[in-house]
């Protein structure tokens, strides 16, 4: 559905995207994960036809996204709240629908975003979460085949975030192809099957979440409060103020072996590797640095 072939884009001397290769299948939800400045938004901009790559090519359903006819099959929810605050939710939806000459989905969009009861209220009176939902609703008012969501949950409360996740799940069920950019790894783990990790405009790794964790996640981290350590038992990590901390590829087996050897545990915490760990492993720094 989406093919990105060796795409590069620079702003002056700054290389925003460098040699990016991606293929996204129809109906897939694909994540672009990376810190601010990684090149995610530039990639989205090229996918939606806002800018032409300096080199390489992008095809959506084998068509150039710069063409107006291709853009009719794309929906985008920009990172900034791209809504007219002085218009009502209904007026916003009507206006953007009119650009596609397709008013058939306006009611559906209001239902979908849970804004039907506020349809005739000005957007300026909405909460941050409601605005975000409207931002997504406008992106799907033209029944797109490809949906580009650029950081769709920035600055929203947990309740609204869950509502947005529900909306996206509904779109996934409808078979929509979604590209989702974020720097929240838990969103990726929850919503996306495959992930591309970007940093400084380059693709660092690509694969399913499990594949990336297996390849780059490293060992699980165990921390446990211990109350009794029999003499002669060799602990795998460091004990500090009665708290044992160690890394292990098989954390449960290691803990069980220690318990059998007579080590008594008051509390036990096992933290599996996550995409944060993957990013740390790949770049040497945290995702939110």
């Amino acid at each position: 559905m989406i093919e990105v072939n060796c795409v590069s884009k620079s702003y002056g001397d700054f290389k925003a995207v460098e040699g990016l290769d991606l293929v996204v299948q129809r109906g897939e939800t694909f994540a672009l994960l990376g810190p601010n400045g990684a090149g995610k938004s530039t990639t989205i901009g090229m996918l939606v036809g806002l800018m032409r790559p300096d080199s390489g090519s992008i095809r959506i359903d084998q068509r150039d996204p710069m063409l107006p006819t291709t853009r009719t099959m794309i929906g985008v929810a920009p990172q900034a709240l791209a809504v007219y605050e002085e218009l009502t939710a209904l007026e916003n939806l009507r206006f953007f629908a009119s650009l596609y000459n397709d008013h058939s989905r306006i009611d559906w969009c209001l239902e979908f975003s849970g804004l039907k009861s506020r349809a005739n209220h000005r957007v300026s009176t909405f909460s941050g979460g409601m605005k975000r939902r409207l931002n997504i609703a406008i992106a799907v008012v033209n029944s797109p085949q490809v949906l580009l969501l650029d950081e769709p949950t920035v600055g929203v409360d947990p309740q609204s975030r869950n509502h947005i996740f529900d909306c996206i799940s509904q779109l996934q069920d409808d078979g929509m192809t979604i590209i989702y950019t974020t720097h929240y790894m838990e969103e990726v783990e929850r919503l996306c099957k495959r992930v591309a990790i970007m940093d400084h405009g380059k693709l660092m790794a690509i694969g399913t979440v499990d594949e990336l964790l297996e390849r780059h996640g490293g060992d699980s981290k165990v921390s446990a409060e211990i109350s009794n350590v029999p003499t002669g038992v060799d602990l795998p990590g460091i004990v500090n103020d009665g708290v044992l901390e160690f890394h292990s590829a098989e954390p449960l087996e290691t803990t069980l072996r220690l318990n059998r050897a007579g080590v008594e545990f008051r509390t036990l915490n096992v933290r599996r590797p996550d995409l944060e760990s993957v990013f740390l492993s790949l770049t040497g720094r945290n995702l939110r640095d």
Binding site: G45, V48, G49, L50, M51, P68, T69, R71, T72, I74, V76, P78, Q79, A80, L81, A82, V83, Y84, E85, E86, L87, E91, F95, F96, S98, L99, Y100, R122, I138, N142
Partner: protein, 434 residues
């Protein structure tokens, strides 16, 4: 069609922004009413906004009284008879616009060809030069009218000839040849005036005026040099005719300022991404903005014309006024395009836009009517699109321009619109800001 949808959306957004809507639709109304009232509007005749002129009649003749009566018929002047000292003092203190001294002997010499013309002293408040200029015109008008009446009534003129003939006879210093020539001239003039009634009955009946067949060139010798504008003779402008065209331009400038920030606002809000991600072409987005500015400009001009007419403005040529409005809409939409590229943020575009608007308004006559500006400023005003716009509206409202006279204004405004559109669009596309 999508351009129209874009424009409609922008106008709706503008109307929801109360401050912007006020500057486009409310402020011009206030300006029109304020300046109209200041310049003597209100339609209430004397007293309301009329120039108060202290008149000193040192002649006290029938002719001088007729002259003062003639002057007092003008709705823009309120006459107060006064002594010379009081008159001068009141002007010095700013209580009266001007003092007018009718000299002794005015009745004997005014309009008499062979005598030096009487010097009417006109003392005006230096801070009211505009009114002084208008007053000179009105004085000229009254004297001209007086002379006309004098010639129309031989009974008023014959005693003056008899008096001069007597003075000639008493003069011992004049050489005999000159005396003889003047005697002959007075005789001829007396004969002509004695036959005026007969002449009128035989020939001078074209317009019903008893003197329409006789032209007296000496009317031009009235010692008031300045004349009111030529077209004002055909249609005397009311204060609303002057104040509303200039006030309309404040609304037009409000449109320019409001819509020039619109592109920057779309960028800062992120909606530009959505517009560009839609099937819209770039030119359609730009054209949508220009169309919104054009429509708002037409709306504000139409509103001001309607309100102006309600107040007493009476356009001389409606078709011409409609054409002028369309051309002004196009011209200032083009200017809006240039303004929109003068800054990158909404704030910078708004700041630069209003600064330029103020300069254009100052030199263009939107603050003070160009007709009241000093000569230097009036010459500079041709650089301001506002001047061309006001001038063209005035041409259709009260200057009574023919289409030929209006054409240079319309062409200038069209040129401004075309150049502005091209510059704005080229810079926007080069900056890749759309």
């Amino acid at each position: 069609m999508r351009i129209l949808k874009l424009a409609t959306k922008d106008i709706r957004l503008l109307m929801r922004d109360r401050m912007a809507a006020f500057f486009i639709f409310g402020f011009p109304v206030l300006m029109g009413l304020f300046f109209g009232a200041v310049m003597g509007g209100g339609g209430g005749g004397k007293g309301k906004g009329a120039m108060v002129v202290a008149v000193v009649d040192n002649d006290q003749s029938e002719i001088s009284k007729t002259f003062i009566d003639e002057l007092s018929k003008n709705d823009s002047i309120k006459i107060e008879l006064s002594s010379r000292d009081d008159a001068m003092e009141s002007v010095r203190k700013g209580n009266r616009t001007a003092a007018l001294v009718v000299p002794a002997g005015f009745g004997e010499s005014a309009g008499i060809l062979w005598q030096p013309q009487p010097e009417i002293e006109l003392c005006t408040d230096p801070s009211k030069q505009a009114e002084a200029g208008m007053l000179e015109g009105f004085v000229m008008q009254a004297v001209a009218s007086l002379i006309g009446e004098r010639f129309q009534d031989p009974n008023q003129f014959l005693p003056a000839i008899e008096q001069q003939r007597q003075a000639l006879a008493d003069d011992t210093t004049m050489d005999p040849v000159s005396k003889s020539l003047l005697k002959t001239f007075f005789g001829s003039l007396e004969t002509m005036l004695a036959n005026v009634d007969q002449l009128n009955q035989n020939e001078g009946t074209e317009d019903g005026s008893p003197m329409s067949g006789i032209q007296f060139a000496n009317i031009k010798k009235v010692p008031v040099e300045k004349r009111t504008p030529e077209s004002a003779e055909s249609k005397q402008p009311k204060s609303w005719d002057i104040s509303f065209p200039q006030a309309m331009l404040w609304g037009v400038l409000g449109c320019v300022a409001g819509f020039s920030t619109s592109l920057a606002r779309e960028r800062s809000m992120g909606t530009m991404v959505r517009l560009r991600a839609s099937p819209l072409a770039q030119w359609e987005i730009v054209a949508g903005k220009a169309l919104a500015c054009f429509m708002a400009t037409i709306a504000v001009i139409a509103m001001m014309v309607a309100l102006g007419m309600f107040m007493g403005m009476s356009p001389a040529n409606y078709l011409q006024l409609a054409t002028v409005a369309l051309v002004i809409g196009f011209s200032f939409a083009g200017l809006m395009m240039v303004f929109s590229v003068l800054g990158k943020s909404e704030q910078s575009v708004a700041g630069v836009g209003w600064a330029l608007n103020m300069v254009m308004a100052m030199f263009g006559g939107a603050m003070i009517p160009a007709m009241f500006m000093p000569e230097t400023f009036r010459k500079l005003s041709v650089l301001s699109p506002v001047r061309w716009a006001i001038y063209s509206i005035e041409g259709a409202v009260w200057r009574d321009f023919s289409w030929g006279e209006q054409l240079p204004n319309l062409l200038t405004l069209l040129a401004i619109g075309i150049v502005g559109s091209v510059i704005g669009t080229v810079i926007l596309s080069k900056r890749k800001e759309l």
